[in-house]
């Protein structure tokens, strides 16, 4: 599992929970909320889908690690490789 793989997984989840968004030009280093119409409930959906689809747990105090695609990849990489 690479960071690019993880970014792809996160984008696939976002595609499910925000189906109206165009994800073609999402910038990996920019906060997701600054470029997409996502709210706190949507981030809970991302957390839930990581749990359901990949058995990955994201504790509440670490939600901010999911802010951008880059931070998602950095944060989730060890979790995916551990799983």
């Amino acid at each position: 599992m690479t960071k690019d793989d993880i970014k792809k997984i996160v984008l696939e989840i976002i595609e499910e929970i925000a189906p109206d968004e165009d994800l073609a030009d999402v910038k990996p280093d920019v906060r997701l909320r600054d470029q997409l119409d996502l709210d706190s409930m949507d981030f809970l959906d991302i957390v839930m889908e990581l749990r359901k689809q990949h058995s990955i747990e994201v504790p509440e105090e670490e939600y901010q690690e999911l802010a951008s695609l880059d931070s998602c990849a950095n944060y989730l990489l060890p979790k995916f490789n551990q799983a």
């Binding site: 929970i17 409930m41 839930m48 359901k52």
Partner: protein, 412 residues
């Protein structure tokens, strides 16, 4: 204001036989029902009335995903109603709009789905959706409308079993007369075909319709009727005080002149004709009308063996000596749209003021002698000519009865 006349200036609907009033009316006059057979969790295929409106007409995909089916139906109907009313929506004062949506039940669908969801994860509740509570609060369908349309006036749902569609309308009327709001979006919705519990409950009660041909499953007054066809649907009206409607030059579709809600106080599920009679009489009294002034009685009859007989008993007592009053039923086409039923069935009959026709109740091959009424309009529409007033019944569990009297608008 308390004595203001209340008029219908717009309506929006979705039903198994159409997503607009003209489409629904055409099917009612042509005798075309539409009941599908759908797979039901744990139960196999069941007959059900399914709507085919396009949710994306007024919602984003994400809103459809997060919200409920009842909310989506409500949003569709509300937008259609506002369009139909020709209100200058941009300039309507949104804190003076009230939303009153009748529902038979709400939350069953969403809770069943979540239980099914966590069953895939060994019933671990950490997989329970954070969307569950906003989806299941009782005000959900009405609240979704306010978010969609930016309405900041009051909103709530009216829980009134299968009398809820009429109850929503009555609530809207009362709030207009109290001066709480200037525009009421009122009626009812149903998402009930998405909960197996409703179907299983009716089945256990011996009240779920079965028939090889789903389009013949809902057959009020027929000797071979055997229960209810559950349906989804919705119908919301724009209600206004007459003076406001006239001031803006609105097209007035009809006037709500009488109403009543009462309680049987006798049984959880069995209807009570004596109280139904009282309910209809009170609605007529409020309208200052005699039974003979009514041309159409649209029945609640749900195609259950006992309920249909009891409503016919009640109607016979009031309208038995009224040669110019005709009786019909809309559930024979669309099944029982639960919380939407009263509002939707009234809508299907409103065009009578224009076309002078009474749509029939269909699927009556052998009329149950106990349901015989002198002017039951069976299988073929009836041309009456002038139709000025409709009485619309909707009854529900726990013994709640509602009757509405709606008149052709005659000016003044």
């Amino acid at each position: 204001m308390v004595d203001s006349r209340i008029v219908i200036t717009g309506l929006g609907l979705t039903s198994p036989i159409g997503d607009s009033l003209p489409e629904m009316r055409t099917n009612l006059l042509e005798g075309k029902p539409r009941v599908d057979r759908i797979p039901m969790r744990y139960m196999g295929d069941v007959p059900a009335g399914v709507c085919r409106y396009d949710p994306l007409k007024y919602q984003k995909k994400k809103e459809v995903r997060i919200g409920t089916r009842a909310g989506s139906i409500a949003i569709f109907c509300a937008n259609e109603a506002i369009n139909d009313s020709n209100l200058d929506w941009e300039n309507v004062q949104k804190d003076r709009v009230g939303v009153y949506v009748g529902t038979t039940e709400h939350g069953n669908v969403e809770t069943e789905n979540e239980i099914h969801n966590i069953s895939q994860f060994d019933y671990d509740t950490k997989f329970w959706s954070h969307h569950h509570n906003p989806r299941t609060v009782a005000n959900n369908p009405a609240g979704e409308i306010t978010i969609n349309l930016g309405i900041t006036g009051p909103h709530y749902s009216i829980g009134a079993a299968c009398a809820a569609g009429n109850a929503g309308l009555i609530q809207g009327l009362q709030m207009l007369r109290l001066g709480e709001v200037d525009v009421a979006l009122a009626g009812g919705v149903s998402e009930s075909i998405h909960t197996f519990g409703i179907f299983a409950g009716f089945k256990s009660q011996g009240a779920l319709a079965t028939h090889d041909d789903p389009n013949k499953a809902s057959r009020p007054f027929d000797l071979d009727r055997n229960g209810i066809v559950v349906s989804e649907g919705g119908c919301l009206y724009v209600l206004e005080r007459l003076e406001d409607a006239q001031a803006r030059g609105a097209n007035i579709i009809a006037e709500v002149v009488g109403y009543s809600i009462n309680s049987d106080a006798t049984d959880y599920v069995l209807p009570n004709p004596e109280r139904q009679v009282e309910c209809m009489r009170k609605a007529l009294a409020k309208a200052k009308m005699a039974p003979g002034d009514i041309q159409i009685v649209n029945t609640h009859a749900t195609s259950t063996p006992q309920g249909d007989i009891q409503e016919c008993t009640a109607i016979r007592e009031i309208f038995g000596d009224c040669p110019d009053t005709f009786v019909n039923n809309t559930k024979s086409y669309i099944g029982h749209a639960m919380g939407a039923a009263g509002a939707l069935e009234l809508a299907g009959n409103l065009p009578s003021f224009e076309d002078g026709m009474v749509h029939p109740t269909i699927n009556v091959d052998r009329l149950d002698p106990q349901c015989e009424l002198s002017n039951l309009v069976l299988n073929q529409p009836r041309k009456l000519g002038n139709i000025d007033a409709i009485l619309n019944n909707s009854f529900g569990m726990l013994g709640i009865n509602s009757s509405l009297v709606v008149k052709r608008f005659t000016g003044g």
